[in-house]
């Protein structure tokens, strides 16, 4: 096919014209092979400039377009739109930046002109090898699978379910409500956990758009954003169900760290040493002690020591909510046993935000003792318990207590990593599921359409878990609009069947789990619905089979050769 490449140089008022000899550029390229026309314009991005460009593309029957102007960040889309309006495929267009990267930074006009000529030559060389690409879209399911029936999963379900969007909520235990259901009081307003759960559930249970699976496990998640195929199995009946959903919310929650490896706290050996969750259980009216705080001997404790940060050093992170719930424990103690002596042994008081410090001050005002202790040891001493404590900068001492409540680090629930493996989501060194971006995408995972909320991605308060659930709902409602198709990335990767040797290197490096292996043909296959066109596979492929559309070796080599010529 005859190529007629149009080259347009923008003067950008005086911004480029002052420091680059544009007439010399025009002279350089006007007789070049494949170049149909070289023209300049005072301001190509203006309405007048865009119209000129559109007419010129049509008039000269151009097959490819090069625009030398400002940064593509500013106007690449503008000129792609002009291409479309002129009937030229916008992927047969290459923009080159001779303003920010040339006119504004290269002082000498001759040098700047030479640099601009090289950049434009490179763009011409490359564009001749570019291919016309088309945008494509696929049908998607608006439905959502929520895994985990705790507060985070319930809230996500509540916000997402609607007449045109079904939500399937899967919980492995026999009832919904998660950990919160077992908390008699919640910080900071000391309201009831079960009441909160009941209230949340009242709008979920009975909603015909919500299907609840209890005693059930998700055994399989295949597919991609918009089209996941799920298998849910009821553990009691072994009955399996297949579901098709567009997105998945993982809300699998937390467990407490196992304290077996930390003998100095006496847990499991000494009587009247409890974990925080055991203490919560003791406080629930329907619990084993009928809601009474009692020692093993059946008497109420006269003194209780609450030890913060148990396992923090071993885990290497702060579990964020323990300080505040330890304050809550002190209040529950003072409420049920007004005369009790409550002591907090803490290392750093972590009460972030506008609410918690006041809660701390009020708790302290109730006569709760605060002792700085970076290291504590718990031993039995006759009838009572001795807590020996020390800190680098503060005092050392021994504290006598009838009861000890240990506040262990939070860790991801034990099946979290299973979902990481099933979905290809990286799990960090602490076992939590990684986010797509720590700052900017706090609830998205690296797999598009899969969201991680609540304690599955790090210790969190109830409030933060709720916010994250609503955030995931926001992302899903924004992207999966019923009746709307999903537009796919255009510049995706492709793997040549001829050249692929089946080494699977690309599969191991793909950050989006977009490549799978075809066992029958013995080649790697790209799922274009998942591919973001990042090019990692093309860089890693030892046989040159993987390439990104419009970033093929020919295009890049042509570009580089022309710039170095």
């Amino acid at each position: 096919m005859v190529k007629r490449i149009g080259v347009y140089v923008c003067e950008c008022g005086n911004n480029i014209a002052d420091n680059v000899d544009i007439d010399k550029i025009i002279k350089t390229f006007s007789r070049m092979r494949n170049v149909g026309i070289v023209e300049k314009h005072r301001l190509l991005c203006s309405e007048d400039g865009k119209e000129f460009l559109k007419q010129s593309i049509k008039q000269h029957g151009l097959t490819h377009l090069v625009v030398a102007a400002c940064s593509p960040k500013q106007h690449e889309q503008t000129f792609m739109n002009v291409c479309t309006a002129a009937g030229l495929n916008p992927y047969l267009f290459q923009m080159t930046n001779i303003r920010e990267q040339v006119a504004w930074v290269t002082q000498d006009k001759e040098e700047a002109t030479d640099k601009a000529i090289r950049e434009i030559a490179a763009a011409i060389a490359r564009v001749a090898y570019q291919e016309a690409l088309e945008k494509r879209d696929i049908d998607v399911s608006p439905n959502v699978l929520v895994i985990g029936g705790g507060i985070a999963g319930i809230r996500a379900t509540r916000v997402l379910a609607s007449p045109n969007r079904k939500v399937h909520l899967v919980e492995k235990s026999s009832s919904l409500g998660g950990k919160v259901k077992g908390f008699d009081k919640l910080f900071t307003k000391m309201e009831s956990g079960p009441a909160l759960i009941d209230n949340e559930l009242s709008s979920v249970k009975g909603d015909e758009n919500v299907e609840i699976f209890t005693d059930s496990e998700v055994e399989q998640i295949l597919g991609f954003f918009g089209n996941f195929e799920i298998k849910v199995v009821n553990k009691a009946t072994s009955e399996a169900r297949d579901l098709n959903v567009g997105a998945v919310v993982l809300a699998t929650g937390f467990d407490l760290m196992n304290l077996e490896g930390l003998p100095r706290y006496g847990y499991g050996k000494l009587e009247d040493v409890y974990t925080s969750l055991e203490f919560e259980e003791m406080c629930v009216p329907g619990g084993p002690t009928g809601g009474n705080i009692l020692l093993k001997n059946g008497k109420p404790p006269r003194s209780v020591a609450i030890i913060h940060c148990v396992g923090r050093e071993d885990k290497g992170y702060c579990s964020k909510v323990c300080c505040v719930y330890s304050l809550k424990f002190a209040r529950m103690l003072k409420d049920k046993l007004p005369g009790v002596k409550a002591s907090q042994l803490y290392s750093d008081l972590c009460v972030p935000g506008k609410v918690y410090q006041r809660f701390y001050e009020e708790t302290k005002g109730l006569g709760v003792e605060f002792i700085r202790a970076e290291k504590t040891d718990v031993t039995r001493n006759g009838q009572g318990i001795t807590v020996s404590y020390e800190s680098k900068s503060g005092p050392k001492g021994d504290l006598a207590a009838d009861m000890v409540i240990l506040v262990p680090a939070m860790e991801p629930a034990n099946d979290t990593h299973r979902f990481g493996e099933m979905l290809g989501i990286p799990v960090d060194s602490e076992g939590f599921l990684a986010q797509e971006h720590q700052k900017l995408a706090p609830v998205a995972s690296s797999v598009e359409g899969v969201f991680v909320v609540g304690c599955a991605q790090g210790p969190k308060s109830i409030l933060e878990s709720i916010v994250q659930s609503e955030a995931a709902a926001g992302k899903i409602l924004s992207a999966l609009v019923p009746g709307r198709k999903l537009e796919l990335e255009v510049k995706t990767s492709e793997i040549s069947e001829t050249f692929c040797t089946g080494c699977k290197t690309c599969i191991s490096v793909c950050p989006y789990s977009a490549i799978s292996f075809d066992d029958f043909r013995n080649i790697a296959v790209v799922n274009e619905a998942l591919c973001h066109g990042c090019g990692v596979c093309a860089a890693a492929c030892p046989s040159g089979a993987a390439r990104v559309k419009n970033f093929a070796f020919t295009q890049i080599y042509q570009e580089v050769e022309a710039i170095l010529r």
Partner: protein
């Protein structure tokens, strides 16, 4: 809620990272978004930070692609220099009155070449740079600010003070400068409102014992952020006011915490980040962190603290009593945790101030008829349980307008407002 085929319309107040995130998600769903920003540029506080904890990513590079998306979105109308004046109606049908101040620069014509600054004869302190550098009366606050177009500061422009200077207009090749522009009154109809007005830092004049603005080498953390910034007044050089590099520095945490009565949640991490940054720039710099309790919550932050500590940054639990001039630097008198008195002499003292609500929050709360809490932040409907809902249906809050928080929590809240709005509007 307004829910025709076009989708809902939403007003987002404040174009920082929270407002941007809400707007982009809403626009993607098909909603029409009016993103209102008081300043002449958008991006909020985050674009002032050179790098953000804990991965030390360049903040402007992180947020610029999102800003470009806003500028290119067909569904988002960015209204800079604009403020909300009145809100009437109810969820699904709010009538909003806005005042859009004149920029005196036509955004359609301006290409952001900055040729107009040079001839302007006026020089005043640049607020964006905490006064550490000068700007003209026609200016952009910093290199890379978006939209890439200047604004005329009518308080200082000679022409607006009665003169007949028109040097900027003469310098403009695109007839972008228009002295006849007028402030506009706009009226919008929206179904929901997101308040994302962010924070400001505690006024250090309220804690005179630390010597801010009285002693030469006492800095606020924001000033140091700008010193660290490659697009800042010193192009990223860490120098004292006399032009020399400091040999020692102290960072004092929790400044204003007692006065405010809350922990600002991000200052420990920001202080550790600055130490890391300063140490990178000046490896032999001796840095001490003076703190009371280390707040590094969650699975990631503590590791960053440990790394910085291991790089040779000292951490001392201290209660600072007084800061005085000592030679070219300052002497910091403090009590250790065990009550001992001690003194630390350093070249540079950096104060980490509390975060507090924007000064105009009270006015906005009246206009929106949603209450402020005891600290002046926007109040949520159910503290502890709903941080994005307010007592007025259809009005939501996100980010530091509600309480001090870090970027990921801010982004999550912004996304949560979208969840609430789209769930209500279907």
């Amino acid at each position: 809620m307004q829910n025709d085929k076009e989708g809902i319309s939403v007003l987002v107040i404040g174009a920082g990272i929270a407002g941007i995130e809400s707007s982009l998600l809403l626009a993607n769903s098909g909603a029409k978004v009016y993103l209102v920003e008081k300043a002449s540029y958008f991006g909020g506080n985050v674009i002032k930070w050179e790098e953000v904890f804990p991965n030390m990513e360049c903040a402007t590079c992180m947020i610029a692609p999102k800003q470009q998306e806003v500028l290119q979105s067909k569904n988002i109308e960015l209204l800079t220099l604009s403020e909300v004046e009145a809100v009437e109606g109810s969820a699904g049908d709010f009538a909003v009155k806005l005042k859009k101040k004149a920029r005196y620069v036509n955004l359609d014509n301006c290409i952001g070449c900055n040729e107009c600054f040079g001839p302007c004869p006026v020089e005043v302190g640049n607020e964006f740079e905490e006064g550490l550098s000068k700007r003209k009366a026609i200016y952009i606050p910093c290199a890379g600010a978006l939209p890439n177009a200047p604004v005329i500061d009518t308080d200082n422009c000679l022409r607006f003070k009665g003169g007949d200077c028109q040097l900027c207009r003469e310098a403009c090749a695109f007839e972008a400068i228009d002295y006849t522009q007028q402030d506009e009154q706009l009226e919008l109809h929206v179904g929901a409102i997101v308040v994302a007005t962010g924070f400001k830092t505690f006024d250090l004049a309220q804690v005179p014992q630390y010597g801010y603005k009285k002693l030469n080498n006492v800095y606020s953390m924001v000033e140091v952020e700008r010193l660290c910034a490659s697009n800042g007044p010193t192009q990223g050089q860490i120098v004292l006011r006399n032009g020399e590099a400091p040999k020692s520095a102290a960072i004092l945490h929790c400044v204003g915490r007692d006065e405010k009565g809350y922990c600002s949640s991000v200052c420990c991490m920001a202080s550790i980040k600055q130490a890391h940054f300063l140490k990178n720039k000046i490896p032999e710099l001796k840095i001490v962190q003076l703190y009371s309790d280390l707040c590094v919550p969650g699975r990631v932050y503590q590791r960053f603290y440990e790394e910085v500590k291991e790089s040779g940054v000292d951490f001392i639990r201290a209660r600072v009593n007084e800061v005085t001039q000592k030679g070219m630097g300052v002497a910091i008198k403090y009590n250790t945790e065990s009550g001992q008195e001690d003194t630390l002499n350093v070249d540079m003292l950096i104060l980490a101030p509390a975060l507090e609500p924007r000064a105009d929050s009270a006015r906005l709360s009246e206009i929106l008829a949603i209450p402020l809490d005891r600290h002046g932040f926007f109040g949520e409907k159910e503290p502890d349980l709903d941080s994005v809902d307010t007592t007025r249906e259809g009005v939501f809050i996100a980010g530091c307008a509600q309480s001090p928080k870090d970027v990921p929590d801010t982004v999550a809240e912004a996304e949560a407002t979208v969840g609430r709005i789209l769930a209500l509007s279907r």
